[in-house]
Amino acid sequence: MISVPPSQSHALKQWVAEMDGVARRQDRECFMRIYDHFMPRLCRYLSGLGAPPVVAEDLAQEAMLKLWNGAERYDPARSGLGTWLYRVARNLHIDRVRREHIWVHAQDVVDQAAEHDVQQDSLAELHAEQVRLRQCLGELSAAQARLIRMSYFEAKTHTEIAKELGMPLGTVKSHLRRAFLQLQSSMGEQR
């Protein structure tokens, strides 16, 4: 099971206020509070993806600098701060460590198309959704949780997961599909 420590439930609005301080006043105290929370998490995420420790630290620092430099354009209605940093760190890893520039271009294309998508979630809705999602992550079956971890934290392809676990490819996909649909339904999205 994926553990869900309740002590880490930083309210979205706290990060919105800190980001506002960074954007409007270039407030370093606000920034360093964000830094202290996310920096170790970014390092751990990037190390898990296979980056050597020094590289993971460099990329995590770079992600945080992007946040400092881009705070004015951060839009809390589009994504939570954790999601924003997750995307930046993931892309940095793919670009610098895996050197798959093709992938980064593909990501940019989708981002550009998404610029005009309507985002209707209020902060309160996003917060409620995050609480439900957190709970739902904790309720995934052991097999689902393992595959979700291997996808997100080890960036393993479906084929690699199938080989490593000795599982048919179709089973890997159906586990991930069910897990994703389950998590979606916790976020109020029905397919």
């Binding site: 630290e57 997750y86 093709i102 957190r134 991930l176």
Partner: protein, 225 residues
Amino acid sequence: MSPRHHLDPATVLGFAAGSLGPEMSVVASVHMESCGHCRQQLRLAERIGGLLLDQQACPVPGKDTQAALRQAMVDKLDRIPASIAGQGLPLMGASSARDDADRLPAALQPHFGSSYRSLKWNWMAPGVHCIRAPGLPSLMMIKIAPGTSLPIHSHGNGELTQVLQGAYDDALGHFAPGDAADLGDDVEHQPVTTPGVACICVCALDAPLVFRGWIARKLQKVLNL
């Protein structure tokens, strides 16, 4: 364009996690470029990533390393002129060329160029032409003449196809521009292109196709499919 056939949720999740192969990522992004539904799914999958990032316990760097990194960050902030702040995120404008009928989807342009008219098709089989992406042999564009029936086949590990022009039908339904066929290794199908217009698709194959008939299998060796 309002697609009726979407990406498998497992593919969207793989894209969000950065765990799809490059070829699959290119084709998935072609689909998502024109599919608001799958972009919404992607947004949700990335929120899962954000939450997983936030939930991680125990910091990796030791206390001394953390302190050194923190000081290094403070020093960096000292050196950044105020005027640079705000330049970290790229501005993204809408592509004015998106509606140009001759223009390839943006995700394909680094691999195949920007114009359908300029594509240099290679003969593959009667009624079938293809172009493989340089450096990415399992990413290819395929042009199939109108009213052509392909041999019945399945896919070694799976296939992701996005229809760009024309259309085809198989047992799974009618696939028109904007539709994705995200097929597992257990799917066997026989696409038949719609009469009138050539069907142009972009495909990512994880493994070679598996043809049922012996003639098609012999042909496969010749065609290097």
